[in-house]
């Protein structure tokens, strides 16, 4: 049987035909996924790009006004730049913090500590909880008469109205976000740590490297693939932060637009204020920002490890 098959493939045409057949089969098997991707991911993305050039409030008839008009209006809108500022500040603080915290916890929990499993579960737990639930929980913690201020009162500090005060509202959401995502990234780092060969540490110890040196010179560089994944995912996640702002501010982005992120503004413009074109333009803007940052991170961290 097999002899016959090999003989048929020996001719060039045979190989080409076999190739074509293989490709067709491959496409056939991936077709369901491709259709889903095209319908629910690629299609809407292209449609959003189209929508960024229309004037439409969801109820009237859509008409084309051109990309120039919408983008000009968007880029001259003070609220848009407030949202960009909020999103960038949010990402710039949350992403590095959660990465460092995740790394620290991962290194600690990679040691042979008592009740290690329990701690791993405890730190991972926030990331599998619904963000709606954790947001509501933190609203109670950050309440003027809530847990956090109760704790501060022990030390004689009269805590602020965290969520009601424009100066603290975004910081409150940052704390919530760091708390809820660090655990997930910790698990990613833990997996990365297990992949580092023990022999390298042993060699370093023989050479006289101390604990800190081992972490900084071996663990951190060798974790680069995990770090890359975490930085990219963390950046995209923080730049697109929506749910926590939405729930904590009741959908308004308040107080005084201090928690309006780009994603929340997109939602408000499209669904609340009936400016679909503007919202879609902001979507395209967010896409470009995320793309640029991802490319930059890829240049910085995306290289393979060389031992």
């Amino acid at each position: 049987m097999s002899v016959v098959r090999v003989a048929r493939h020996e001719t060039r045409g045979g190989i080409r035909r076999w190739h074509r057949k293989e490709t067709a089969a491959a496409y056939f098997f991936t077709l369901p996924t491709l259709i889903l991707l095209a319908t629910f991911t690629l299609g809407p993305a292209v449609y959003a790009f189209f929508l960024s050039g229309v004037s439409w409030n969801l109820l009237n008839t859509m008409h084309w006004v051109g990309w120039g008009t919408n983008f000009k209006q968007l880029l001259t809108m003070p609220l848009f730049w407030t949202s960009v500022k909020n999103s960038v500040v949010f990402a710039a603080i949350v992403m590095p913090t959660q990465t460092v915290i995740a790394l620290i916890f991962a290194v600690i929990l990679n040691q042979n500590l008592p009740a290690r499993g329990l701690f791993r579960l405890a730190f991972f737990f926030p990331s599998i909880s619904s963000s709606a639930v954790t947001s509501l929980m933190f609203m109670w913690i950050f309440n003027k008469l809530g847990l956090l201020n109760g704790l501060l009162a022990w030390f004689g500090i009269n805590g602020p109205d965290w969520i009601g005060n424009p100066r603290f509202a975004l910081s409150s959401i940052m704390i919530l976000n760091i708390w809820s995502t660090s655990g997930y990234f910790m698990v990613v780092f833990l997996a990365g740590l297990q992949a580092i060969p023990q022999s390298i540490y042993e060699a370093a110890m023989i050479d006289g490297a101390n604990g800190l040196q081992r972490i900084l010179k071996i663990t951190v560089p060798l974790l680069r693939p995990s770090t890359f994944f975490i930085v990219v995912m963390g950046m995209i996640g923080t730049l697109q932060m929506f749910d926590q702002s939405f729930i904590i501010s009741g959908g308004t982005g308040g107080p005084l637009n201090s928690t309006t992120t780009i994603a929340l503004l997109i939602y408000q413009e499209i669904f609340s204020y009936g400016n679909v074109g503007l919202g879609a333009a902001a979507t395209v803007f967010l896409f470009v920002i995320v793309l640029v940052f991802t490319i930059l991170v890829n240049r910085w961290l995306g290289k393979p490890i060389e031992y």
Binding site: N57, L58, L59, N143, K144, G146, T252, G254, G274, N275
Partner: protein
Amino acid sequence: MKKWVALTGSTCIAMSAVAAPMVVAQANAPVNIVVASWSGTNVTNGIINAQLAAFNKSHPGIHAVYKPISGNYETILKTEFVAGDAPDIITLNNGGQAPTFESEGAVVPLNSYIQKSHYSLKDFFPGAINMFVSGKTVYGLPRDQSPLVQYDNPAMFKAAGISGPPRTWAQFQADAKKLTNPKKKVYGYVQTPQEPRWGQFLMQAGGNVMNPAMTKMTLNTPAALKGFTFFINLYRHGIAAQPSTVGATWGGQALGMGHAAMTLEGAWAIPYLQDTYPKTPFKIVTLPRGPKNNESLDFPTAWAITKDSQHPQQAWEVINYLTGSGEARWVEQGGLVTVRKSLINMPYYKHHPIYQNILNQLPKAYPWNFPNGFDQYVNTTLANETLLAVEGKITPKQALQQLQQQGEQILKNGGSN
């Protein structure tokens, strides 16, 4: 193998047996009418369900079902309109949402149905019906309403030695001062600094946010400034507080928690306070008088037929039933107030005297409304400028100037921003 064939065969036969009568039934099956509203309290939902069940019993040709929409009601409705699949009947809300749906043609005029059925609109409170009439076109028939009224904690009044509720602005201010005790986290007046909670102060001073036809901003009048300044100064003088200052999210909650001696809310706070804070006593009084009157804001809602309805005639019959004089009385059971003048003497109110002052406020209640295009203005602009004034970052005059200017801008752009 044989067993399998037999099984499939019998299933097929069974299915066709079931399917056959279904086809027959479909020919004269009742027409489905979907009635949508935001999901309210269990009480509200229960009332609508009960009303529709009674309707279905007496109208075999129509099957009306209630579809509560939880979450962002208007947003979800808009997406259903985009899909061309909106419910047959929707509830129009105050605060500018009704004019948006009306002027975009999402809901259909009811005039022809009203005429054909000889339906009278005269019994409705003007505050409840006027908001859903544009020119001579009627877009919605009132479902329920509630004016803003004052909620007091009588125990706190007694402890402070105040004999009765304030009847004038001056008394209101003086009482609020006596009732305030920041150390105990108790404030004379606790309220969110939002326009639907300060608009009435402008009217009481003889001003308003917009003219009645909603074609002009009127925040630059001395009367508007007088009312707005009175409101802002309550906070500036420390006798009023935002709910978040006392760990609450709205005035009613602050009152229930015992942190507020007075707040302004609608009838919806009655079942909430009774259920959530049964130990906190509360009393309802009409609003204290300003320089001109004691006018209040009114929050009416209405039923309307959507353009997507395949059976508008049947939908009209449902609305006709829901708003009919005999049926509207069910509405009063869940913190909602009747929209019919003929019903204010009904027994329910005699047995529930807590509603008396709400009914007393009704004749002096002006619907809270904005024209199409004011969504963002209503949602954030008004709240933001007010908050800045409450925090003392800008003067009341500056806040009103900002609001006047931004409102004029929206009007100039033809109602869309």
